[in-house]
């Protein structure tokens, strides 16, 4: 065996050291899964072995679980299961790990796990198949089944052993949300048996094997009682009845993984353990074969990881270590940027028109640090050190020595031009100038720059400390060096970069806008406002289009529309809803959440309620919808965004499907269950998507008309990931 080393001590306790060669972290590779069988056979048949302790030979942790790269990477569905292949063979393959762990659990000799570091997914499931678990007392150790987060189901006994140990209600957040537990919590839940000082876990595990070693799992004993009771006990039934409803409330039925986990738990708890894990494997495979799982694994795990390593960075430019950055403008965005920079150890000059305004900007970082310290997430000392990195000032001389400037002043070309000139006067040749604009084309802004090759868009999202995405925008003259340096900067502040080319609204704002606009179209069509927002939320978007529009501010979108109309002239397409917005803003003074009056009223105490006056401006013609009607609204809201993303590809605004998908989910909260708009199209197939868009275009307008690129892809049977992604993947 190459992954497991066995040493038998004089008492007959086999110490099994799990150590996958050539990897920094233990994962459950195909070779590991195969060798678990051998390992069990050895423990079982070697008469010299009385019992075993399994620990990890890595300092990085016990085991990180399955290799999602191996699991999700294959074309045609994870493990090639997408094409309706041989289901029986797929079951046998999917059952292999369950079978191996079950063999370990029933090998007849006591087996303890000495958990010396994080145990995730299949790694935790391996320990759950042991008869006893000892964990090192280190609060940094995470024990978790994170599968549900990427659209998967814990498929190696996790859905069965965890609720049998801790009860269905307690296990629910760990199974359905992938929540992780610390050693002390795990002890409280009786998921582990002992927490011991780090370094003594193997000894403690051996002691148990020698003195108490019980080789029968609780659920294999006759007197086993499920904590909290099964689905048809008085308390257990309430857990399921409420749990099913909570699940629908939270997932809107969009996530097959969560529902399948629930089904596996419900069905599995009613049968003996060997049947339970067969049921689990069936639901595991059903989940794996869903387009949601494929999209989510790819985008939320693989692509996110790759972009987080700077996969879009041009090669050949040496690593650029950003040590000092000047942030121009200490408003909400500038203040947030200063904070994340300081957190990453970057010296930050925070400039505004007055010292007072600059100080106020630093105040934001001060309040966040204070909160972190009070919650014990940061020591006062470290907090002070972070704050000491932010230098608020009104003096542009202090820009001197900066490796990068982030301009975050008002969205006004003149103001931006002025600060650009002032800052550039202080900058070294090698420094980069980044503009945090969300709407103004970079090429135009670069006209104010004396060095347009080093002028780039670096678009943050609000609130900066919470939003993980940064959209980097290439102006016409922006150079590759500026791009590489910007990516280095974004990675240093622990954000995920995507790279786009210059265009109105770039990629994220442009596509996001279509969601809100389609909501307005529905309103103009006469749908009751409650339908629009309820179905809008049910698509998996974070909010409905009307409430989202209120948050963005109606007067702002009205002004943008007026500006766009001016800019585009004859090309501007007037839509029926623009008069509704015009009447709301101009006639009613309803600007959105910011003045407490928008599509909703925002009472001081109590939740927002739809503005009753809206019915006068947008008379309701469709007061109720059936399920087909709901589906149609969903389609309009999601496809409108997806077809816009496809247009961005055609226009070269965005070139990498991974960036398009990650950017959509992280940037504007595009329905995560889809894996992103591009995965949505690929999952449906271009042909189906084009057909639906053609129908929508005919019914509702040319805004749904598929671009030529999509038609070509439909004809050739291509996918975005196939056409735009494969070469890179092969090179990687």
């Amino acid at each position: 065996m190459e992954n497991f080393k066995i040493e038998v001590d004089s008492d007959g306790v086999a110490l099994v050291t799990f150590d996958v060669p050539g990897r920094s972290m233990n994962t459950l590779t195909a070779s590991v899964i195969k060798e678990i069988g051998e390992l069990v056979e050895t423990i079982k048949s070697d008469a010299a072995i009385k019992g075993a302790v399994i620990t990890s030979g890595k300092t990085t942790g016990f085991c990180a679980g399955a290799d999602l790269g191996e699991l999700g990477g294959a074309e045609g569905g994870p493990n090639g299961l997408g094409g309706g292949g041989d289901l029986k063979a797929a079951f046998d393959a999917g059952f292999a790990l369950n079978k191996a762990f079950r063999a370990l659990e029933t090998c007849g000799k006591p087996v303890a796990a000495a958990i010396n570091g994080l145990a995730m997914g299949g790694g935790l499931e391996m320990t759950l198949a042991c008869h006893y678990r000892v964990v090192a007392d280190n609060p940094k150790i995470q024990l978790a089944l994170p599968e549900a987060k990427v659209g998967l189901l814990p498929g190696a006994g996790g859905t069965q052993r965890l609720p049998r140990l801790m009860g269905v209600m307690a296990a629910a957040p760990y199974l359905l949300e992938g929540k992780s537990m610390k050693p002390a919590e795990a002890l409280g839940f009786k998921v582990v048996h002992e927490v011991v000082p780090a370094g003594t876990e193997v000894e403690a595990a051996k002691t148990w094997v020698k003195t108490k070693g019980d080789a029968v799992a609780p659920w294999d004993k006759k007197d086993f009682k499920l904590p909290g009771g099964g689905p048809y006990t008085p308390t257990g039934s309430q857990v399921f009845i409420m749990g099913n409803a909570m699940l629908r409330k939270q997932t809107y039925g969009n996530y097959p993984a969560q529902l399948n986990i629930m089904k596996a738990v419900y069905e599995g708890l009613q049968v003996p353990f060997d049947a339970a894990i067969r049921i689990e494997t069936r639901y595991f495979l059903k989940t794996m074969m869903s387009p949601q799982a494929k999209g989510m694994i790819r985008t939320l795990f693989l692509s996110l990881q790759e972009l987080g390593k700077g996969s879009g960075r041009p090669a050949g430019v040496p690593h650029y270590d950003v040590k000092k950055v000047a942030v121009l403008g200490a408003g909400m965005m500038g203040a947030g940027i200063a904070y994340v920079q300081a957190m990453a150890g970057i010296e930050t000059v925070l400039i505004d028109q007055s010292q007072e305004a600059a100080d106020k900007g630093k105040g934001y970082a001060e309040s966040l640090v204070k909160k972190a310290v009070s919650r014990g997430k940061l020591t006062q000392e470290k907090g002070n050190a972070i704050l000491a990195l932010i230098h608020p000032t009104a003096d542009y001389d202090q820009v001197k020595g900066s490796d990068l400037v982030i301009e975050a002043v008002f969205e006004n070309r003149d103001v931006k031009a002025e600060v650009t000139k002032k800052a550039e006067a202080q900058l070294a040749e090698t420094a980069i100038f980044g503009s945090n604009t969300s709407t103004l084309p970079i090429t135009g802004l670069a006209k104010a720059s004396i060095r347009p090759a080093s002028f780039i868009g670096i678009h943050f999202f609000s609130p900066v400390d919470k939003m993980g995405l940064v959209e980097i925008i290439m102006g016409e003259q922006t150079g590759q060096e500026a791009l590489a340096k910007s990516i280095d900067y974004v990675l240093k502040i622990k954000k995920t970069p995507i790279v786009v080319n210059d265009s109105r609204g770039f990629y994220t704002s442009r596509c996001f806008g279509t969601f809100v606009q389609e909501g307005m179209e529905l309103l103009a069509d006469g749908y009751a406002p409650a339908i629009i927002d309820n179905v809008g939320r049910a698509t998996g978007m974070p909010r409905g289009p009307l409430e989202m529009h209120d948050d963005v501010a109606l007067d702002l979108s009205y002004k943008i529309a007026q500006q766009t109309k001016k800019d585009l002239g004859d090309k501007y397409e007037e839509r029926p809803f623009t008069t509704i917005i015009e009447k709301m803003v101009e006639g009613e003074g309803r600007y959105g959440r910011k003045n407490g009056k928008g599509f909703y009223d925002y009472p001081e105490n109590g939740p927002k309620t739809l503005w009753p006056g809206l019915a006068q401006l947008a008379p309701v013609k469709i007061a109720d919808v059936d399920q087909a009607g709901i589906q149609e609204i969903r389609t309009r809201l999601l496809y409108r965004q997806a077809v816009e993303a496809a247009r961005c590809f055609e226009e070269g605004v965005i070139v990498d499907p991974r960036e398009a998908d990650v950017g959509a989910i992280l940037g504007w909260g595009f329905a995560p269950w889809t894996g992103g708009p591009i995965s949505l199209i690929d999952g449906l197939g271009a042909k189906v998507f084009v057909e639906t868009c053609d129908r929508l275009a005919q019914q509702y307008g040319t805004r749904f008309a598929p671009p030529a690129l999509l038609r070509e892809m439909a004809e050739k049977g291509e996918t975005f990931y196939g056409r735009f992604g494969v070469k890179e993947k092969a090179a990687a």
């Binding site: 009845i241 099913n244 409803a245 629908r248 809107y252 089904k263 419900y266 406002p529 409650a530 709901i630």
Partner: protein, 401 residues
């Protein structure tokens, strides 16, 4: 097909369905047995002529399990040749049992049969029988399951019934029930329940409160707000996205009471009635059941009524009296609204809001109530219907002969 005739209707009074209710110390089997005994004794029935006894029961576990119908046949000392079957169509079980007994007569399978039901909600609590529908994620998820109270509140929200509307209906129901008891209108069917010694333990419906007013109801908090806000409002809103916010209006005072009771209806062919010297009181003109959308669940009555009336070639106005189980006030208000039925034709002697709803028995009980009323007021036809769990409706039209 032969006609099925109603020869007699019997029900127990309804006891408060809690530990301090008068019937809590009487077994469900005893309730069913006393109903069968009464039907036999009032009619001098040769029980060997009865082919089958169909009893509705919604929680058929524990003492209500293992086919309580056949068990009651045996304890009531009916001829051992009499079969018994327990059925479950949730709240319409008692009426469905009557319809099945009638269908057996109509088809010729039986010459004489009893349809009825029993439920001791104090002894076998609602939900004791479990069930996959809300519990199994496969069904709960797919059907947007919500508890009935939330569904009733959804009906009120969608069809515009305010708290005042539902409370006003409840006040009227209590008034009608109290007045009807005072007037002796239930005497014909109600058979007092006897204790183990044979002494009367209950001779009237225990939960009627004629003194109920809008003010007394106003003090009650809506019952389903907490449960709704926790999750179920979100569930029904996903199914009915036109709802901005579910308006929770139902409470213990405008919903059916939890009670204990049993009922039976003696049904037979014309020939067998004549042979036994019985006088038919009414003919079963027709019956129907339907499925409706399960999440809102309780809109079946108007839909099944439309289906049945159409089949019978009748119109809404052709029915003299409507009897719709008062599961929740909004259920009745919705049916009156949907079919434009005036309140003075609907539940004229009150209903389950005042007198209670012993799940398995109610359908048979209210059929007896409305038949008695047809005779008292000298009217001809009545339609009996109930809303049903999981989205169903059951209805029966009777006419006097």
């Amino acid at each position: 097909m032969a006609d099925a005739y109603i020869y007699d209707t019997v029900r127990t009074p309804r006891g408060k369905g809690k530990k301090d209710g008068s019937l809590h110390e009487i077994t469900a089997l005893s309730l069913a047995t006393q109903v069968l005994e009464a039907l036999r004794d009032r009619n001098g029935l040769d029980t060997s002529k009865v082919d089958d006894v169909v009893l509705g029961c919604v929680a058929p576990v524990g003492e209500q399990g293992s086919d309580i119908a056949r068990t009651a046949v045996l304890t009531a000392d009916y001829a051992e040749s009499v079969a018994g079957v327990q059925i479950n169509r949730f709240c319409a079980s008692g009426l469905e049992a009557v319809n099945m007994a009638a269908a057996k007569v109509a088809s010729g399978e039986a010459q004489m049969a009893i349809g009825g039901g029993v439920e001791s909600m104090s002894r076998v609590p609602m939900g004791s029988d479990g069930g996959a529908w809300p519990t199994d994620p496969s069904s709960a998820f797919k059907t947007y399951f919500a508890p009935q109270g939330v569904s009733a509140d959804l009906i009120a929200t969608l069809y515009g019934f305010s708290r005042d509307d539902v409370d006003a209906y409840a006040v009227e129901s209590q008034k009608r029930a109290a007045a009807s008891w005072a007037d002796g209108r239930f005497k014909k069917s109600v058979v007092p329940v006897k204790d183990q010694l044979g002494l009367t333990i209950l001779d009237h419906d225990e939960t009627v409160r004629g003194s109920t007013t809008m003010q007394t109801l106003a003090s009650l908090n809506a019952s389903f707000t907490g449960m709704g806000e926790m999750a179920f409002d979100a569930v029904v809103t996903q199914r009915y996205p036109q709802v901005e916010k579910v308006n929770h209006v139902h409470h213990a005072g405008n919903s059916s009471g939890i009670v204990d009771g049993a009922a039976g209806v003696l049904i037979g062919s014309k020939e067998m009635g004549e042979a036994l010297g019985l006088k038919p009181r009414a003919r079963i003109k027709g019956a129907a059941s339907i499925g409706s959308e399960p999440s809102i669940m309780l809109t079946g009555p108007s839909l099944v009524t439309e289906k049945l009336l159409k089949r019978l070639g009748m119109e809404v106005k052709d029915i003299d009296l409507y009897e719709l189980n008062e599961a929740f006030a909004a259920v009745v208000l919705r049916m009156m609204q949907a079919l434009d039925i005036p309140h003075d034709k609907m539940n004229v002697n009150g209903g389950a809001i005042a007198m209670g709803h012993p799940l398995g028995a109610t359908g048979a009980m209210i059929l007896g109530t409305v038949l008695d009323e047809l005779e008292r007021s000298n009217k001809e036809t009545a339609l009996i219907t109930l809303c049903v769990g999981a989205g169903m409706g059951t209805a029966t039209v009777i006419e006097r002969v």
